[in-house]
């Protein structure tokens, strides 16, 4: 199957639309960094006014780690839409070109064909995530330096020590990979039913946007739905930045406050990926290729 994956990757990375997402991520992250580089100090002073009235805050609050957190929080809702650009095209695009019938008439099993396409989609997704990590974390560290990270929430402030941060980012990006792969698997599944890529791309975007809106509405009727929406669990990466404290109110290095909840969210996303992929393989194996 690996030669097939190589062929699929070759096709993905020869397609101009593949690089739209990379350019978009670099542009958006670059713009956010530029904005904070120019006006960040005054923005942070304003944002931390309530805190600095009662506490003395020392050190570099606006540092590379905080920038990466802000960027991740902003982009992880939108990057899935960029993932859909490629994943939604994987099967429907071939159907539209008339190449799906050529592929399916070659001496490879349909299961191998579809799995190789999904693996290639996953490689693309991970490549985009690594690209985002480079821009969000490495470039931010180069521009803004490092220090402990302060995360302001509505009622609490979490301080993550500098020496305890990097592994959390690794874990957060690992979790984000699952979140993005869930969207990729959804777009890939929807791609099965169309003969041009616009339909599945739009359908994926619509589902992500709809679910995200439902997540933000704090109404009882929607609250009961939230545990079943994959978008609820896509933000689980933030859990890695909630640190446990001991009885002396000191941070426990390497701890996560609610690890079971984070793992549960990761499990839900994983189940979605497996579910969408299994459904795609099942249907594709039985599908009449008429396009």
């Amino acid at each position: 199957m690996w030669p097939l994956v190589g062929i699929e990757l070759f096709k993905i990375f020869r397609k101009p639309r593949t690089f739209i997402a990379f350019a978009a991520v670099a542009s958006i992250v670059g713009l956010i960094q530029l904005g904070f580089y120019v006006d960040g100090e005054s923005y942070m002073r304003f944002g931390m006014q309530a805190l600095t009235d009662s506490f003395q805050v020392e050190g570099k609050v606006l540092n590379g780690y905080l920038m990466a957190y802000i960027i991740l929080q902003t982009l992880l809702v939108h990057v899935p839409l960029l993932i859909a650009l490629v994943a939604g095209d994987m099967i429907s695009g071939e159907a539209g070109l008339g190449t799906l019938r050529l592929l399916a008439a070659r001496p490879v099993s349909r299961t191998s064909l579809i799995l190789s396409k999904f693996i290639a989609t996953s490689v693309y997704t991970l490549a985009l995530l690594i690209w985002m990590a480079i821009w969000a974390l490495l470039v931010s560290i180069l521009l803004f330096g490092t220090d402990d990270m302060l995360i302001l929430k509505s009622e609490v402030v979490t301080q993550v020590l500098e020496k305890d941060i990097l592994w959390r980012y690794l874990a957060a990006f690992g979790f984000a990979a699952l979140a993005l792969l869930t969207v990729a698997a959804l777009a890939f599944f929807l791609s099965l039913f169309a003969e041009n890529s616009i339909g599945p791309i739009m359908a994926t975007m619509s589902i992500v946007i709809l679910f995200t809106i439902l997540n933000t509405l704090n109404l009882p009727i929607f609250n009961s739905l939230k545990p079943f929406l994959f978008t609820t669990h896509m933000l689980g990466w933030k859990g890695f930045f909630d640190v446990q404290v001991n009885e002396a109110n000191e941070q426990i290095i390497g701890s996560v406050e609610n690890l079971p909840a984070v793992l549960r969210s990761a499990g839900v996303l994983l189940l979605h990926i497996v579910g969408f992929l299994a459904a795609t393989v099942f249907i594709f194996r039985r599908k009449d290729i008429l396009s």
Binding site: K11, L97, T99, L102, A104, A105, P107
Partner: protein, 311 residues
């Protein structure tokens, strides 16, 4: 002769529509097998079932003596195909497209071998141009190169001359005949262009509305002594009345209001002309339809100008 493709009682139903119904035929090793039918007759659906792209509703397909469902990959390894007009990957070059499908066919072809295939279909000079810059005819020729690249025993071509200019059609026809004679490849070629099939096929199958209406050698199926005549006169009503009362009443075939179709022997052509003149009916045109087309039309009951797309 070895049977290479054996199709038995093959049917495909889409909802309430019978695309193919109880179709049986055999392609023998060394054949150039013409698969003839009008657009929508069920040719492409049948070919898609032969390539396991479409699941039959019922029936059996055996290729190289093996059941297609059980030995799909083994069969496809030795089968080259092109189905309708594939656009291939427009953002890749012709050479890259060919190399990609070669790898999918589990073939290790050298760069030289790939270029030779492109040379064979007249694309060597454009090998490194993006396919998006190709004409429809060039894409069609690249598709044929893709079908041939894994050196298959059986080549299935669905409407291979679609989009080709007259010279391109001749080139593809010669290529098929040469590969058949020199390399012993067996071809199954579908077409709605009747004269194309007549020129290359030694055996043929004619289907209409998903059903077989004839199968056999081209020589068996075509009677050179008979001709389908398209007749246009100054008074078609009087002509019909005269024909119905004459000894040629059985020769009348489904016709339109201004053109009559007659299935007659060649010797009767001057006799009919003379009789019409004697009846005072002026003849505007008498046009014999070519032999295979005549046979096809007489079987499918289609007026000649409809089949030729001239309505």
């Amino acid at each position: 002769m070895n049977a290479l493709v054996e199709v038995r009682h093959l049917s495909k139903r889409f909802g309430s529509f019978d695309a193919v119904h109880d179709l049986s035929f055999t392609v023998y090793e060394g054949d150039v097998f013409g698969f003839l039918g009008q657009n929508g007759a069920g040719k492409s659906t049948t070919i898609r079932m032969l390539l396991s792209l479409v699941r039959p509703t019922s029936g059996e397909i055996r290729v190289f003596g093996k059941e297609l469902r059980e030995a799909r990959e083994e069969i496809l390894l030795r089968t080259g195909s092109i189905i309708e007009n594939p656009d291939l990957y427009p953002y890749l070059t012709g050479f890259e497209n060919l190399r990609l499908f070669t790898r999918l066919g589990r073939v290790d072809a050298s760069r030289l071998a790939l270029m030779e295939r492109l040379e064979q279909v007249g694309l060597a000079s454009r090998a490194h141009d993006a396919v998006r810059t190709y004409s429809q005819g060039m894409k069609q020729r690249l598709g044929i190169a893709v079908a041939l690249v894994q050196d298959p025993l059986l080549v299935i071509l669905d409407e291979p001359t679609n989009g080709l200019d007259p010279q391109g059609i001749v080139d593809i026809r010669n290529l098929i005949l040469r590969l058949n004679r020199e390399e012993g490849k067996t071809f199954l070629v579908s077409s709605h262009l009747l004269n194309e099939v007549e020129l290359i096929a030694n055996r043929m199958l004619i289907i209409d509305k998903g059903r077989k209406i004839a199968e056999g050698s081209v020589r068996e199926l075509i009677d050179p002594e008979r001709v389908l005549l398209e007749l246009e006169t100054t008074d078609s009503g009087a002509t019909v009345l005269f024909m119905q009362a004459s000894r040629w009443s059985d020769a009348l075939r489904p016709s339109t209001s201004d053109r009559l179709m007659l299935d007659i022997s060649r010797d009767d052509v001057p006799r009919i002309a003379q009789s019409l003149v004697e009846q005072g009916i002026g003849i505007r045109s008498m046009k014999p339809v070519n032999s295979l087309e005549a046979y096809f039309l007489s079987l499918t009951n289609t007026p000649a100008h409809v089949a030729a797309g001239r309505d």
